[in-house]
């Protein structure tokens, strides 16, 4: 059995009815703060109940807009019930047709209304089953099958693992199968390793009572009392007794388990372990309890808390393998703000939560096709996984754009960091696949994250092949046939109609819903910068990167001179671009220096910068912010 669907209405940030679909195994909720991740987790645990038996009281703040006239409604749907589970929930089952066959599923409907004629108002909760909620309510024994293990955010994992009354550790260990096995009564000659835990308690009680020093103390007390304080013949004996000696085996087991601490030692050192380690330790313990037969549910909020990057990776991988382990039916639902964790889980496990709506990235829900999933699993790393948490995303081809555009945006008072915009550099491959993450199959429920794909038009001016590829190409007749070359020039698209078609083709690959493609006005990023008016700055940056300090001034003058010699704006810009093609100068380095130069030069002159920037870059920034 697994939780397949959650419907929430009037609960916290969820106003109108929202449906959240979940998968078997691992589910990862990602999203910005206040997007509703915790509300979903809380809805689930309130309805299902938690294994630590904690009680959740509905507060006025749990109602949507704090409107206490509303009724909070939560409906959970469980699917894939085992035979035993079908039997246990028999009178409450619903059926649905899957692959032409009637299949059992279970709906639980929970609702809460405030009784306003009491002061202060009291919450009144009702639980029923079936699709419309007119089925019988669940019996306590059946509800036990649904309890979730819940690890709250900012939990004090350290004290969870420490001794104490009703300690979480003792609860977990009580749940281990066979914990009560063994001999509970110690007798002489018995092998100590065969004793049960209660047996150990019995033995230690016995040893304590017979300890010579304690025995002596007991006798002394008796002597003083009988000889000095009581009358002859009162005949009162004293005896030391360990508390709980006469308790039942079960009670003894619990009281002993409550004395346990779980400590970890790193590399032989002792002392209190760090927050991160105790966090991981507590999760390990909960997983142990969750390994019991039957279906189990584990909700973890922010498992990454206090855990450093490499351990985060390890942790999420083990959660994933735990959730996918065969023979067990464990559903793990986590929320995370860690791009690192989001980057390593299977894309299909991820659900983006935004504005109290859930967008699962499962196949069939997004416009990604099977190839895309395989591709993205491989190339989605922590820096790219940023996009899950962003308010808007800019996807760029290479490092130049990645380095340059945020600087320009900041100068234009549109700071990416301030506005929560992520910039993702796909290094030339799969730009559209990343964009499709944000496109939904269900057009009526689109994911409102603006995505700007910034890409090159890749059509060089007719003068460029000679400058940047081969000198011979100044004679167009020497160009290879169109189909034999991997570059295009303006003359390949003689009419404006054909030019538009070329751009449309580029846009169509990704555009749709909130994804929009911005194609460079001419050729490439650097060419367009030079063309649109940043040639001087580009020359300066190229010189800084390409020549040693003492030659710089001379080279600068030389390049500027050659630049001016070129007759047209096209050939001028193409000349500068040839530094990257024929001289192999690093675009990224140039972009970095260029950004630096522009930052200094235009800090107080935004208007003239704006006139010099290529339009497609300005448009892309304006689209996002």
């Amino acid at each position: 059995m697994y939780l397949q669907e959650v419907q929430i209405e009037n609960f916290r940030c969820f106003g109108t009815l929202q449906t959240i679909n979940l998968s078997k195994g691992l589910n990862v909720f990602v999203g910005q703060n206040d997007s509703g991740k915790t509300a979903i987790i809380d809805a689930i645990r309130i309805v299902m109940g938690t294994t630590d038996q904690s009680w959740y009281r509905i507060e006025p703040s749990d109602f949507y807009n704090e409107n206490k006239d509303l009724e909070i409604r939560i409906r959970l749907k469980f699917s894939d019930l085992s035979e035993n589970e079908q039997a246990a929930f028999l009178e409450c089952l619903s059926s649905e047709i899957i692959d032409g066959k009637d299949t059992a599923c279970l709906y639980i409907k929970w609702s809460c209304k405030y009784l306003l004629n009491f002061t202060p108002p009291r919450p009144s909760v009702s639980i029923s089953t079936s699709v419309s909620g007119d089925g019988p309510s669940l019996s306590p024994e059946a509800r036990e099958l649904l309890r979730v293990t819940y690890l709250r955010p900012l939990r004090d994992s350290y004290s969870n693992m420490q001794a104490g009354r009703n300690s979480r550790l003792s609860q977990i260990i009580q749940g281990i199968p066979g914990i009560k096995d063994g001999i509970s009564e110690y007798s002489d000659g018995i092998d100590l390793s065969t004793l049960s835990i209660a047996g150990i308690a019995n033995l230690s009680n016995k040893l304590l009572a017979n300890h010579p020093k304690l025995k002596k103390a007991n006798e002394d007390i008796g002597t003083i009392m009988n000889s000095k304080m009581l009358l002859k013949g009162d005949g009162i004996d004293t005896r030391f007794e360990v508390t709980g000696t006469n308790a039942s085996d079960d009670k003894m087991l619990i009281s002993l388990l409550e004395k346990l601490d779980l400590d970890a030692h790193s590399n032989g050192s002792t002392g209190k372990i760090g927050l991160g380690t105790s966090n991981i330790l507590s999760m390990a313990c909960e997983l142990l309890l969750n390994r019991n037969i039957g279906s189990s549910f584990l909700l973890i909020e922010e498992p990454e808390a206090h855990v450093h990057a490499q351990r985060q990776l390890r942790l999420i991988q083990s959660l994933q393998s735990e959730a996918e382990a065969t023979g067990r039916n464990q559903q793990i639902i986590i929320t995370t703000h860690s791009p690192l964790m989001a980057s390593v889980v299977n894309l299909e496990s991820v659900t983006i939560i935004k504005d109290a709506k859930a967008y699962s990235l499962r196949k069939g829900q997004t416009k990604l096709d099977n190839d895309d999933y395989i591709f993205l699993e491989r190339y989605l790393d922590a820096t790219k996984a940023n996009l899950f948490f962003a308010k808007a995303v800019m996807i760029v081809e290479g490092p130049s754009e990645e380095l340059f555009i945020p600087v320009v945006a900041k100068l234009l008072h549109k700071d990416f960091t301030e506005y929560g915009v992520s910039i993702v550099n796909v290094r030339g491959v799969g730009m559209r696949r990343f964009a499709r993450i944000f496109q939904r199959v269900d057009e009526s429920n689109t994911l409102e994250v603006k995505v700007a794909c910034v890409t090159d038009r890749d059509v060089m001016p007719d003068c460029a092949p000679a400058l940047c590829i081969k000198q011979d190409y100044s004679d167009k007749t020497k160009w290879p046939n169109v189909e034999d070359r991997n570059w295009r020039a303006e003359s390949d698209f003689p009419t404006s109609c054909e030019k538009d078609a070329h751009i449309k083709e580029k846009c169509d690959k990704a555009d749709g819903q909130y994804v929009k493609t911005f194609v460079s006005d001419h050729w490439t990023f650097e060419y367009d910068l030079a063309y649109s008016g940043l040639a001087d700055e580009l020359i300066e940056a190229i010189v800084t990167v390409a020549y040693v300090e003492k030659n710089k001034d001379a080279k600068l003058a030389e390049i500027k001179r050659k630049y001016m010699e070129h007759p047209t704006l096209e050939s001028k810009a193409a000349y500068l671009y040839s530094f990257f093609t024929t001289r192999g100068i690093s675009k990224a380095e140039v972009a970095q220096h260029l950004a630096f130069i522009i930052e200094k030069k235009y800090e107080h002159d935004i208007e003239s910068l704006a006139t010099k920037l290529p339009n497609y870059i300005k448009d892309a920034i304006n689209y996002l912010i």
Partner: protein, 642 residues
């Protein structure tokens, strides 16, 4: 081997249950049955404490039950097993456990309804509004157009023409499917289904459909209930057996024990060629009756149709073992009840006859629904009414619902007075109001559960407090006479309008009726007193002592214990008692028993096995030959001519 089969029931366990039940002991025969956890049937003779034995077994099993989500299932046709558990174990932990999840103890109908039909209907978009045969059929009939109504009338059919005979809906009508009446009735039934109205049997048809179409159901049922008991197994119809067998079809998943008495199978359809399902395999027997003594066992064992060997082990009334009497009358049936009453007064002390001790004297007949017939009719007497014209057959039905509010109020008042629980009156009034609203308004009230709760659920939450207050005010009103009652009704209309928006209108439901059950007022007059409870009261003119005789049908007395029983001869295709004289004389004919005679024998067997102390029969003198009279007399019957 199923895990629970490892449960071992020891004599020690049985001893403990005996203590729990108080002054009761199980003999070896019963102990073997309690201990047995195998696929086996149990043939239990009347009064053998079959249900008690089953409950003892359940109590032990529940205590040792190893699962928290799998349970024991006990199916029956009445709530006898459930009531017995409530009475014997109601306040114990094990009793509470048995009556709740994961176990099920209840009727066959409610089992298939709870676990199969309702979940299936809910998942397929049918609401569940009312499940009740009588109410649903009358509602459907009233909605028919005049052509369909005329058709039903002309063909001599009843409202049951509006009942589906299978699911998907099919009707048992002998006309073309294109006939206007057929179409009208069909549409009416379909609409009724869509609105959530079902008869009890229709729920079974839906269950059957669901089991056939959702393969997971039967499997899940068996896993949920690895142990199945069927009580009153002999009354299970073919259709029901079929249903049970299609669910519990895998012997590796569950185990079944059927308890019943093959001789008492009076609820089966007599003319169906029903194969005998009980006992259908190896069976154990509880032969000794704890209800009556050997004299009764001796007289009725010969009419057992399937299995013989009944013995009687109750000795209190040994002194009247020679008083079992056959009354022969000419054509004047009015002498029968007084003669029986005089005989009772002579056999029993006033203490024995005290109604409040729980055991009562009865007069029963196989036919009881007929109208009064003419004494000159050769079939006379046909039914119970021919022995006592005040007999009202509706009253002896267990499903009887009062037809006026005042009856509800009176029933509630009596119950509240008897138990001291005010809520009984509240519930009874609420039940009346609910019945009224369901029949006369569009209020969607739930018919299941407590009536008061279903009324409250229909109110906005801010009104429930006021509603409770207003109902509370009704509790203290007196309704002894017409004037008081109309004051009560005025207040009731205010409540109905205030909370349910029902405007005052003329309706017989609110009319005053005389309190027919209040016997105390006219008790002084002596002689015969008629009451609406079908009780004939006789006061002896000579001694002044009196006795109440309850009249009823044989079918409704099944499972009950009487102090004394008189079986009245009635007519169903032929005379009922005279037709089976050969068996009564222990000289059964060699040839195969006719179906109708089989039914008569079973009914007679049930009727004569109710009494602790005394059994009697009444028949027309000209229906029995002198030879037969002397044969019966030799067996131990007294013959008395009136």
């Amino acid at each position: 081997m199923l895990p629970f089969e490892e449960i071992e029931i020891t004599d020690d366990d049985i001893d403990k249950v005996e203590q729990l039940f108080g002054n009761l002991s199980f003999d070896e025969e019963r102990r073997q049955i309690i201990k047995n956890i195998k696929n086996i049937d149990i043939q239990a003779f009347p009064g053998s404490g079959k249900t008690t034995t089953l409950v003892a077994k359940l109590a032990i099993l529940a205590r040792k039950w190893p699962y928290s989500n799998k349970g024991i299932c006990v199916l029956s046709h009445t709530n006898a097993a459930r009531t017995e558990i409530e009475n014997r174990l109601g306040n114990t932990d094990v009793g509470r456990r048995l009556l709740s999840y994961p176990h099920f103890i209840g009727t066959l109908h409610s089992f298939f309804d709870t676990f199969v039909a309702k979940p299936w209907l809910r998942s397929n978009g049918y609401p569940i509004t009312v499940i009740d045969t009588e109410y649903v059929l009358s509602k459907r009939y009233n909605r028919l157009n005049y052509i369909a109504k005329a058709y039903i009338k002309n063909k001599g059919l009843s409202e049951s023409a509006c009942e589906a005979v299978s699911f998907p809906i099919a009707l048992n009508l002998k006309c073309k499917e294109t006939a206007p009446s057929y179409i009208n009735i069909m549409n009416c039934v379909k609409k009724s289904f869509q609105e959530g109205f079902f008869t009890f049997d229709e729920i079974l048809y839906v269950a059957k459909y669901a089991i056939n179409h959702s393969s997971y159901i039967s499997n899940a049922l068996q896993i949920r209930f690895p142990l199945l008991f069927i009580d009153e197994a002999q009354d299970t119809s073919d259709y029901q057996w079929n249903l049970i067998e299609s669910c519990f079809n895998n012997p590796t998943l569950s185990l079944r024990q059927a308890f019943g008495d093959a001789n008492q199978a009076i609820f089966q359809n007599y003319n169906s060629k029903s194969s005998n399902h009980f006992p259908e395999r190896e069976y154990l027997t509880i032969s000794s009756s704890l209800r009556f003594g050997e004299s009764i066992a001796h007289l009725i064992d010969p009419i057992g149709i399937e299995i013989h060997g009944l013995t009687g082990h109750y000795s209190k009334y040994g002194n009247i073992s020679n008083k079992h009497t056959i009354f022969l009358f000419g054509t004047d049936t009015s002498k029968v009840l007084p003669a029986y009453a005089e005989h009772l007064l002579c056999c029993f002390s006033d203490e024995d006859l005290d109604d409040s001790k729980g055991m009562q004297c009865y007069a029963v007949g196989m036919v009881h629904t007929s109208e009064e017939s003419d004494p000159t009719n050769e079939k006379y007497p046909i039914g119970v009414r021919d022995y006592w014209s005040d007999y009202n057959h509706n009253r002896s039905k267990s499903s009887y619902k009062p037809q006026t509010l005042i009856e509800y109020v009176r029933i509630g008042m009596r119950a509240a007075k008897k138990s001291g629980n005010t809520f009984e009156l509240v519930e009874s009034i609420s039940d009346g109001l609910r019945w009224f609203m369901i029949h006369n308004t569009d209020n969607k009230l739930s018919l299941s559960g407590k009536a008061f709760n279903s009324l409250c659920k229909n109110l906005p939450s801010d009104k429930t407090v006021d509603f409770r207050l207003d109902l509370l005010k009704l509790q203290n009103l007196s309704i002894l006479n017409k004037a008081e009652w109309y004051m009560f009704i005025d207040k009731m209309w205010i409540i109905l309008e205030k909370y349910f928006a029902i405007r005052k209108s003329e309706n017989q439901f609110f009319d005053w009726t005389d309190d027919a059950d209040d016997t105390s007022a006219n008790n002084d007059e002596g002689g015969e007193v008629s009451t609406s409870q079908n009780v004939f009261t006789y006061t002896s003119p000579t001694s002044g002592r009196s006795v109440h005789i309850h009249l009823s049908s044989i079918h409704s007395e099944k499972g009950k214990t009487h102090l004394a029983t008189l079986v009245l001869d009635t007519f169903w295709h032929d005379r009922n008692i005279p037709s089976i004289i050969p068996w009564l004389c222990n000289t059964p004919p060699k040839k195969k028993i006719q179906l109708r005679n089989a039914m008569r024998l079973k009914c007679q067997y049930v009727a004569l096995s109710r009494a602790r102390g005394l059994i009697c029969m009444a028949l027309r003198k000209d229906t029995i030959t002198p030879e037969e009279q002397s044969a019966l007399s030799t067996l131990g019957w007294n013959i008395v001519e009136l």
